[in-house]
Each structure stands twice: as structure tokens, then as C-alpha cells.
Amino acid sequence: MGWTLEQRQRLALEHQVLQREGFDQFGVYHYAADDSYSAGGLATANSGYQYRLWIPIPSGYPHQRPPMYITSPDPLLMFDMKPVSSLGVSHQMHTLIPLAGWPQICHWRDTRWHSGILLQKVFLKGLLWIEAYEQHLTTGRSIADFVSTMAERA
């Protein structure tokens, strides 16, 4: 099944929202070879370090939750030099099932996702996660100590 007109419009609109709301380091992209969409870009932490965020858009979007991965640095290491992805689904580090060694950031669980949430909010959560991750690298404390449970409201 291909993308519906409404889905394509939504993704085009979300790209515009990112550009107009100061999130223009991120964008929504189309890959014509297999007619797939993804969103992503280079996130810069307050420290100046950069991280690449990547969101493959699932076929059920926006009703289906899009996963968000950190694809660079690869591997992304923790305070103890183990890969973040080795944790799998972790409440302490706010991660979900990794893909190809890339950790998946827990922005919303499936049970809390709904179609009113924009990619802009997802990237914002990604940026918050990165700041908390850098605090973890500095202190050794878990990410859950720096970001409370992700808020319900979009």
C-alpha cells in the first residue's frame, strides 16, 4: 500500500513546520527509489557536540508512532564505555529497541502516541534526551535522573 494524499500532505506540512519553527537543522525527506520517507538532521548539544537523529517514517504515520534513532556517533557509548544500544528497552536510560546498533530514544511509548503529535515535538524530545545523555556522561547518573517521564500532552 502506498502513501495516501493526506499522509504526503502531512509530511510536507511537517517539513514546513520544522523550517518555520527554528528546527531547520531537521527536515522530512523523500527517497524516490522506494517511495519512502524519513526525517532527520544533525542535532547540536549545548556543549557543541553533534549527534545525528534519524526517524524512518512508518507506513501508518501519523497514527503509528515513528521511532527515533541516534545514528552518529556510532556506537554511542555510556559513561562505562558500553554501547547505549546494549541496554535494549531501558527505563533508566529512556531507550527502546535499538536498530543495527543505533539506540532508539524513547520519546513516546506506543501506548501514549497519537496522531496529534508533530515531528517537531519528537525532535524536541530528542534534543532533551541528548542534553540528559551528556549529563550522564559527566556524572555517571542515569538519564532518568535528568528527564522525568515523558509528558503526556503533545
Partner: protein, 487 residues
């Protein structure tokens, strides 16, 4: 010698007992005479023991399907005999024609229905003989045959040496079921209606069976789960059904209540992958009941029902079923599930964790979530409200005694509390005896809230968002192309 008047009184008394009606005479056991005698009703009989209908209820009962016999009448007349399989219950006290239900007894007895005086084959212990009678076809034990003649059935069990004659009853299922509903629901009013029940756990299964009792004629059931032992304390399915798909268990439960119902069972997961299949099922339904207990499936079903303009009812229990809620969505008229999630996120998020699969959905590897199901007793009020709202939508546009309830059930959202759960906003609700106009447990509250005109499911979300940025939805730039694929 017997007294003719006494014999007449005994006959009258026994007739009254057989018909379980009061008569002019009654039977007593006279302790002095050590025999049964008949006395006029109201006469005090010293040293006598009253005999009741229950005392006389000593014969086994055979129940045959009238519809089956009508269908097989030509064969019976041609061959003079036809075999019938009977479910034997309670050591043969009740023998029920197997075709009457889908769940037979573990003990089956073979009987032969004989047309008039046909000689039975040797060794046939259980036989039912039909002979023409002038009796009314409304009398017990009589059958109105397709040839216009009424027949009386006599059952004989055993041999000449030890013969007993169980009473025979004919069951005409559909008219008899309709009679019990008449006055509230006309016999065929729901026969052509189709209900799609997605999620046939405790609530969904209960709703489906209740609607079958009301006479709904078509059901589509969707659920991926099998009945587990732990489910049985809540689910209408029983221990003997453990391991079966819940949809198949509920299909049989429906047929036990409404044998004429058409039921399609789909052991299917509600997911984005199964959307196309679910869409086809929604298209066939008049009303959709959502008994799933997680938000993603509810929102997905909501989206598809909105697309097809199908009314849907969503039910759910709060954790450990301390209460629950029901949301009725009439597309374009009332708020939808997505409007509900946006308007009342806390209420929408309070869900029962009744299975390990539900727990896994919200657990982390370093923070497990316990399975915390509630009691069946606490889920059933929610399931009953779900059923009532579905029934009203099924009756929409039809004249019925229940139509007046449209005025009463006018809210989109209904809230019920089983107990004032500590730690919730309901913890301080007053006891039932102390409340005058305050909210209490064990009462339904219909709550009104507005549709979100910019709802991403039922409103103009994209148009509104585009307008906010001064963009025209019809002429948006395409998103940038990726030269190569990541991932």
C-alpha cells in the same frame, strides 16, 4: 374398591400438578391410611403430607428441535424412522436434541424417531413415537407437522421389562426466544443488524453475548488471543474451553443464546499491518464495539471508523477495574477517541493492565509492569453500559420501546466508579449513604465535552495547521529528496 369420586379428584389433582397450575383439589399423603388421597383445596387434612409439583417431577425430559423435525419431515415420512442424537445431562434426567446447541454433553444417546406404529429395530433402547392427535399443537408434547396434522410424541426408554416414558417437549427456538423479548424489542427488529466486536475479552465477550440475547442477527468478532486458565475468572468462556481462540469461544456462546445468529470469527491482531482487513470488516458493520484495552488499537479503530462514518463504542476499565469509562463516537456529531485523548489525557491513559501482553507494552527491561486485572464483577457494569449504548445505535431510526432512552443517553462519555481508589481524584468521594448531590461510586455519570474542530482524526487538523503558517494545503512544496537511503 376404589371410590369413583376419589379417583376423579385424584385425576384432577394430578392434572393440575402436571400443568403446575392451582386446581380445585390437591394431593396429600395420608399418614393414617398410608396412601395418597385427594382432598378439596383448602380442606385441612390432619396427619397428612402435602404433595407438590416438585414431588411429582420425577420423569426425565426429552427436548426435540421443532425446526429440525420440520426440515426432516419428508425423510421421516418416507423411511418411517429417523435417528436423532440427544445430549444426555444429569444421568439421563434431561436429554436435549444435540442440534439445539453447539456445546453437546459428553454423554450422547442415540434415539430413533418413529413415524406412527413403525416397528423399531431390535436393541433400540430410546425411541420417540409420533402418532396423530386431535390435541392442540400448543399443548406440551405435540408437534405441528408440515403436512398440517398435529402429532403427539411419546418417548419410550428401555425394554418391556424395565420401561420408562420420559416426557417429550418440542422447542421452537426463534419464536420462543422472541416471545421473551416482545414488548421491549420486537422480534425481528435487530435480526438484520451487524455488530463488529473488536476485542472479545471480558467486556467485549459479555457485550456480544448480551446483544445476541437481544436478537442481534449478525456478529463479526476480532481478537488474536486464546482463552487462558487465568481468563476464566472473568471471561464468560469456561475451563473446558481453555486454549481456544476467544473469538471461537464467543462464537459458540452467541450460538448458545441465539442459534440463528450469523457469526464470523477472525483471530486477528489489530495493527497497522492488519488495517486493510479491519477496514473491510468495519464496512460490513452497523455498529463497532471496541473492547481492546490499549490506546494504539483504540485510536486505530477510531481512525478507520471515522473514515467510514461508522458509530463506535469504546469501553475500558481503569487499573484493577476501580472504575471504567465508555465513549460513544458518532462521526461528525460527537467527539471521537482522538478528541477524548487530547481533551482528557489523564482519563484516557488510565487503563487496566489485564494481560502480560498489555504489561509488556508499557514495561521497560529494567522496570517491569505487573499484571493487575480487576474483578469480573467490576468489569460487567462497564460492559453493560457498552452494550446498552450499542443497542441504542442499532435501534436508531427504528420504533422501539427503548427509543425514549435516546433522550437520557445523550452524553458522549460515561464514567463509573466501583470504589474510591486511593491516590486518585475520586478518593475523597463520600459514602453512598452520606451523599445528597455529590458524586459517589456505583452511579453512572454522563459527561459532555466538545468535539475538537482541529482534531487530527475527525477534524480539520491539516487545514488548520497550514492556515496557522499561512500555507495552502493544496500547493505545499514537496519535501526534499534524499540522494541515498539511510538505515
Amino acid at each position: 374398591m376404589s371410590d369413583p369420586q376419589q379417583q376423579q379428584m385424584i385425576r384432577e389433582a394430578m392434572k393440575s400438578i402436571a400443568e403446575r397450575k392451582p386446581g380445585r383439589t390437591k394431593l396429600v399423603y395420608d399418614k393414617t391410611k398410608r396412601t395418597i388421597v385427594a382432598v378439596a383445596e383448602g380442606v385441612q387434612a390432619p396427619r397428612a403430607l402435602n404433595i407438590t409439583a416438585d414431588d411429582a417431577d420425577m420423569f426425565a425430559v426429552v427436548t426435540l428441535s421443532s425446526a429440525w423435525l420440520r426440515d426432516n419431515w419428508a425423510l421421516l415420512k418416507q423411511d418411517g424412522r429417523i435417528p436423532a442424537s440427544l445430549s444426555s445431562w444429569d444421568d439421563g434426567d434431561a436429554m436435549t436434541h444435540s442440534v439445539l446447541g453447539v456445546q453437546p454433553s459428553p454423554h450422547i444417546e442415540s434415539s430413533l424417531i418413529l413415524f406412527t406404529e413403525t416397528t423399531p429395530p431390535a436393541g433400540q433402547d430410546l425411541r420417540i413415537i409420533l402418532t396423530p392427535t386431535a390435541d392442540s399443537p400448543d399443548r406440551p408434547g405435540t408437534f405441528a407437522a408440515p403436512d398440517g396434522q398435529t402429532y403427539r410424541a411419546v418417548c419410550v426408554r428401555g425394554t418391556n421389562n424395565a420401561e420408562e416414558k420420559p416426557e417429550v417437549y418440542f422447542a421452537d427456538i426463534q419464536p420462543e426466544l422472541a416471545t421473551r423479548r416482545s414488548g421491549i424489542l420486537e422480534s425481528a427488529i435487530l435480526q438484520d443488524k451487524c455488530v463488529l466486536v473488536i476485542g472479545v475479552g471480558t467486556g467485549g465477550a459479555h457485550a456480544a453475548v448480551e446483544l445476541a440475547k437481544c436478537g442481534v442477527g449478525r456478529f463479526i468478532l476480532v481478537d488474536r488471543d486464546r482463552l487462558g486458565v487465568g481468563n476464566v475468572v472473568r471471561h464468560p468462556g469456561s475451563i473446558s474451553q481453555v486454549g481456544r481462540y476467544k473469538v471461537n469461544v464467543v462464537q459458540d456462546l452467541i450460538h448458545e443464546k441465539n442459534p440463528a445468529a450469523q457469526v464470523a470469527a477472525h483471530a486477528l491482531t489489530v495493527s497497522h499491518e492488519s488495517c486493510e482487513q479491519i477496514r473491510v470488516l468495519i464496512a460490513q458493520a452497523d455498529v463497532v464495539i471496541c473492547g481492546t484495552d490499549n490506546r494504539p488499537s483504540k485510536l486505530l479503530i477510531n481512525q478507520m471508523c471515522i473514515e467510514q462514518k461508522k458509530p463506535a463504542i469504546y469501553g475500558g476499565a481503569f487499573r484493577r477495574a476501580y472504575g471504567g469509562q465508555v465513549l460513544r463516537v458518532r462521526p461528525g456529531e460527537s467527539p471521537c477517541q482522538q478528541c477524548f485523548v487530547s481533551a482528557m489525557p489523564e482519563a484516557a491513559a488510565d487503563e487496566e493492565v489485564s494481560t502480560s501482553a498489555d504489561a509488556d507494552e508499557i514495561a521497560y527491561s529494567d522496570r517491569p509492569v505487573a499484571v493487575e486485572p480487576g474483578l469480573s464483577l467490576d468489569v460487567l457494569p462497564i460492559a453493560n453500559m457498552l452494550t446498552k449504548l450499542a443497542l441504542l445505535d442499532l435501534l436508531a431510526g427504528k420504533e422501539s420501546s427503548l427509543s425514549m432512552l435516546e433522550r437520557d443517553f445523550d452524553a458522549p462519555w460515561y464514567l463509573w466508579l466501583n470504589r474510591p481508589e486511593p491516590g486518585t481524584q475520586y478518593a475523597s468521594w463520600p459514602p453512598l449513604s452520606e451523599s445528597s448531590d455529590e458524586m459517589t461510586i456505583h452511579r453512572w455519570y454522563g459527561i459532555y465535552f466538545e468535539r475538537d474542530p482541529d482534531c487530527p482524526a475527525c477534524g480539520n487538523f491539516l487545514g488548520s495547521l497550514a492556515a496557522h503558517y499561512g500555507l495552502d494545503l493544496g500547493s505545499l512544496e514537496e519535501v526534499p529528496a534524499l540522494p541515498g537511503k539511510e538505515g
